[in-house]
């Protein structure tokens, strides 16, 4: 019998990808400070400890401030760029859009270092604000990508019809265009939020003393007795990320179904 090579490859690939993530919830509920098999019984005490840790609460608060600000700003810039690139043609539109998308593939380390040098030389003190600036740079290309597909699937004549029926450019935008791209906007916001919450390099370089969830987790890994707490926190983050990404995809698909457009891919 012929070996189902491709099938075995696929399964091995998926195990390699997801086994470490499955480890997280297993040890988050394991009643032992040592992350090792055999398991020692079920407990939820690590989750209690996570909740009780004031440093972690501070980091969570900071992370939320950064992620919310980043997702709102990135999505706003994304709307502007996506609208410009799909609706207007102007000299240099191709290169400009390319430059906006570049941070998606540039090494984050380089960007973080470059930003650090700029901030220090200009004299901007490092703070949550500088982290937000860095994260916006990273997240905006994702927002542009999602929103461009949303704006592209809009029939141009819908806009003309609204104008023809008496609406000016601004009322046309909020009466017709905005409702139709709203699923894309929600989806872009959620994805930017997820990326920002996960972001480590920017937070580490540009954060000064301010701890975010990612930098806090990294700091805690040095203390073996705190590792189960990190497992619990990681479990929560994985759960929230999956929920947010699913929600984002749900809105993207619903948007496509609503306008009757063709599905041209997405993140999930």
């Amino acid at each position: 019998m012929k070996l189902p090579t491709l099938r075995i490859y696929t399964i091995a690939y998926l195990i390699f990808l997801y086994a470490p993530i499955i480890i997280l919830p297993i040890f988050a509920f394991n009643n032992s400070t040592a992350v090792a098999f055999p398991l020692q019984g079920f407990t939820t005490q690590w989750f209690g400890q996570v909740w009780a840790d004031p440093a972690l609460r501070e980091a969570l608060k900071n992370s939320l401030i950064v992620a919310v600000s980043t997702s709102v700003l990135s999505t706003f810039f994304g709307i502007l760029a996506a609208r410009a690139s799909t609706r207007y043609s102007f000299p240099g539109s191709g290169p400009v859009l390319g430059l906006i998308m570049l941070p998606m593939v540039l090494p984050e380390m380089i960007m973080a270092m470059a930003l650090l040098v700029v901030f220090l030389s200009v004299g901007i003190p490092l703070s949550l604000f500088t982290i937000i600036l860095g994260d916006v740079l990273i997240c905006t290309p994702f927002a542009v990508a999602i929103l461009t597909s949303a704006f592209q699937s809009l029939d141009r004549s819908l806009e003309e019809a609204a104008q023809d029926l008496g609406e000016g450019p601004f009322s046309t935008f909020y009466l017709v265009i905005l409702p139709l791209v709203m699923p894309g906007i929600i989806s872009a916001t959620l994805i930017c939020f997820t990326i920002s919450i996960d972001e480590f390099i920017i937070a580490n370089f540009l954060g000064s003393g301010q701890k975010l969830l990612s930098t806090y987790i990294f700091g805690q890994l040095r203390f073996p007795k705190n590792v189960p707490n990190i497992m619990a926190l990681g479990t929560i983050l994985v759960g929230v990320s999956i929920a947010l990404l699913s929600l984002a995809e749900f809105f993207r698909r619903r948007g496509i179904a609503k306008t009757g457009a063709k599905d041209t891919g997405g993140f999930l």
Binding site: S157, L158, E160, A161, Q163, D164, L165
Partner: protein, 368 residues
């Protein structure tokens, strides 16, 4: 067909040019459209008919010239401030709204009360035969229903001019024919000027009071459907509207409103300069044209109404109610298309049959 000559002018184009970069899309359009007229812009794709329509709506600016709507120069007036409304080729129904929200979309700034507006929406829906559909989601409608919603949405604003951009091209044949009749009725009912863009010559002939045939950014001919069909100004127009056969010919004599020509296959004929001669005078040869249904194959015992020529059947296409014959007249090189109504007991001729062709000089057209 309504007589439109005594009606006031609704739209006037004065030497309208439009460039897209180097591309000359509209090349000096001069035309007037009367109030209450059903007017069609007919032409192949890329002839500028949609561009011309969009200059009326205000979606396209013009490079030079003047567009007047109801006597007013509309240069610089955006679409939302023009007394025109448009039915888009894709219908452009707002997918996130219900049918009644779509139809009532243009009433947002209308000072009337909510109840009055709701009544107006109901009336508009009734007019297009969609009573009771108001609460439906727009994206759940069929093509024909979308078309009606688009019509109701435009007509509810009582525009001076309704612009229709190939509104029937997305419908299947049967539905299209029904909608043609409905649109004509609707136009008579509301009395608004309708301007239709179409590439379908049959649709234009059926629906219009007058038709502007456009080629390459110019109006080749502007006439009522009958004149357009009977006396096309150029061979291009003749070919675009229906089928026309052409025979090379020579002018023998001319004078007193008559032209005598010698046409290959038909021999000498005398034509009425007023009624049968078309196009600009050009030196050299001329062409004689005739429509497929104006000449007929004479069967056993039939006599020519007027003149008679001999021909050989070269191709037979059977359509049920009609048969198309390609026949070659003696002394000519190209076959001529004849269309014959099939009647009971009449045989369909075989290829190679010799046939007598009956024709009348009065049905001929001469192109200079």
């Amino acid at each position: 067909m309504t007589v439109t000559t005594d009606k006031p002018t609704m739209i006037e184009f004065r030497d309208v040019h439009k460039y897209y970069g180097d591309y000359h899309a509209l090349r000096g359009i001069n035309a007037t459209i009367k109030a209450g007229e059903f007017f069609s812009l007919l032409g192949p794709s890329g002839c500028g008919k949609t561009t011309l329509l969009r200059t009326i709506a205000g979606f396209e600016g013009i490079s030079s010239g003047v567009v007047l709507i109801d006597g007013k120069d509309v240069a610089g007036i955006p679409p939302n401030n023009r007394p025109t409304n448009m039915v888009f080729q894709s219908y452009a129904i707002f997918p996130h709204l219900t049918v009644e929200q779509n139809v009532g979309f243009g009433l947002r700034k209308d000072p009337r009360s909510k109840e009055d507006k709701a009544r107006a929406v109901d009336e508009a829906l009734a007019m297009v035969g969609l009573s009771g559909y108001g609460k439906r989601a727009a994206h759940a409608l069929s093509g024909g229903q979308r078309q009606r919603v688009a019509l109701a949405r435009a007509l509810i604003l009582k525009p001076k001019v309704l612009l229709l951009d190939e509104p029937l091209s997305a419908l299947d044949k049967k539905l299209r024919e029904n909608m043609q009749v409905e649109l004509i009725k609707l136009q008579r009912q509301v009395g608004i000027t309708f301007i239709l863009v179409t590439h379908d010559q049959e649709e234009a002939l059926v629906m219009s009071d007058r038709i502007a045939v456009m080629f390459e950014g110019e109006i080749a001919q502007l006439d009522d459907p009958e004149t357009l069909y009977r006396l096309p100004k150029t061979r291009a127009v003749a070919n675009f509207i229906g089928t026309m056969n052409f025979l090379p010919a020579k002018i023998i004599a001319e004078g007193a409103g008559k032209v005598e020509v010698e046409a290959q296959g038909f021999g000498r004929v005398i034509l009425d300069e007023q009624k049968q001669v078309t196009g600009q005078t050009s030196p050299g040869g001329c062409t004689i044209g005739f429509r497929p249904e104006t000449a007929t194959i004479l069967f056993e015992g039939q006599n020519a109404p007027d003149r008679e020529s001999m021909a050989t059947v070269e191709e037979v296409v059977y359509y049920g109610d009609m048969t198309y014959y390609d026949v070659r007249l003696d002394g000519t090189s190209e076959p001529m298309r004849l269309s014959m109504r099939n009647t009971f007991g009449r045989p369909v001729l075989d290829i190679g049959t010799r046939a007598r062709i009956g024709w009348s000089p009065g049905a001929l057209v001469m192109f200079r």
